[in-house]
């Protein structure tokens, strides 16, 4: 089982405390993500962004949430046989988890290298597969945790604080 963890230094203790305690969320949302469903992929992330916008969250935070979440949603559509996105909105942060049905990531460290991609031609023709998805998530998230193994499922979790 491979695990990758990135936490921004500014939010390390708060993010780790959150994951230990996992309090009840104010708002939670669930979306199905279909394999290669590029018509609907992105709807979940747009919905999370709109909900946060209605709550008056800062536009720069909204953009970071939307970009990180969208990249992760596209990854599930492009690389897995489908999965689910669950978003949990709190007073001070948003926590989003993407669980897919495989086939897993053989080498997570390699997958984090900008420019590395296993995307097929269909995915590339749509403008994806530049190998920047995971680095882009890391750049915008305060916490990124990935658990995966070849032949298994992938769980990607991200946290973004509002301040």
């Amino acid at each position: 089982m491979g695990e990758y963890l990135y936490v921004s230094p500014d939010h390390a203790s708060a993010a780790e405390a959150f994951l230990r305690n996992r309090p009840e969320a104010e708002v939670s949302m669930e979306f199905e993500i279909g394999e290669k469903d590029f018509v609907n992929a992105g709807k979940g992330s747009a919905e999370v962004k709109n909900t946060l916008k209605r709550l008056g969250i800062d536009p720069n935070i909204l953009r970071r949430v939307a970009v990180a979440s969208y990249e992760a949603e596209i990854n599930v559509a492009a690389h897995s046989s489908g999965g689910r996105m669950n978003s949990f909105i709190y007073d001070d942060l948003v926590y989003i988890r993407f669980a897919d049905c495989g086939p897993g990531i053989a080498d997570i460290e390699q997958a984090m290298v900008p420019g590395w991609s296993t995307a097929d031609d269909l995915v590339r023709e749509m403008g994806f597969g530049a190998g920047l998805g995971l680095p882009n998530i890391k750049k915008n998230a305060d916490l990124l945790r990935i658990n995966s193994q070849a032949g298994g499922n992938t769980l990607l979790e991200l946290i973004i604080f509002y301040a």
Partner: protein, 115 residues
């Protein structure tokens, strides 16, 4: 620079109805890679691209796009134009290449978006 001026400089055809051609365009970015577009767009931006799939419109749900110019004579499918109209997003199409379009707009003073 307004959308109207951009149409004129690029000999571009508006694709969406009820377009506000007086809308100001502060800056632009050109790419066919979605991750690049997401990474580089942090302010209201005009996007020049050759991509014509629905995810290009979905992008505007994530980042602030003033409009999209399809280059090299690319024409998006009807449902994509409808998606843009629902979002009040301006779509233009030009026969010029991405390089030429970018050069023309840059020379007339439209700056690159801050990255």
């Amino acid at each position: 620079m307004t959308l109207k001026e951009i149409c004129s400089f690029l000999e571009a055809e508006p694709l969406t109805r009820n377009l506000n051609l007086d809308r100001e365009v502060p800056c632009a970015f050109a790419s066919d890679l979605i991750s690049d577009i997401l990474m580089c767009t942090k302010e209201p931006t005009l996007l020049l691209t050759g991509l014509t799939n629905p995810q290009v419109i979905r992008l505007s749900d994530m980042i602030d796009l003033v409009g999209i110019v399809f280059v090299r004579g690319k024409m998006p499918p009807r449902e994509l134009v409808e998606m843009a109209e629902e979002r009040d997003l301006a779509l233009l199409s030009t026969k010029l290449t991405m390089y030429r379009s970018s050069g023309i707009l840059y020379n007339t003073g439209l700056r690159s978006c801050k990255i």
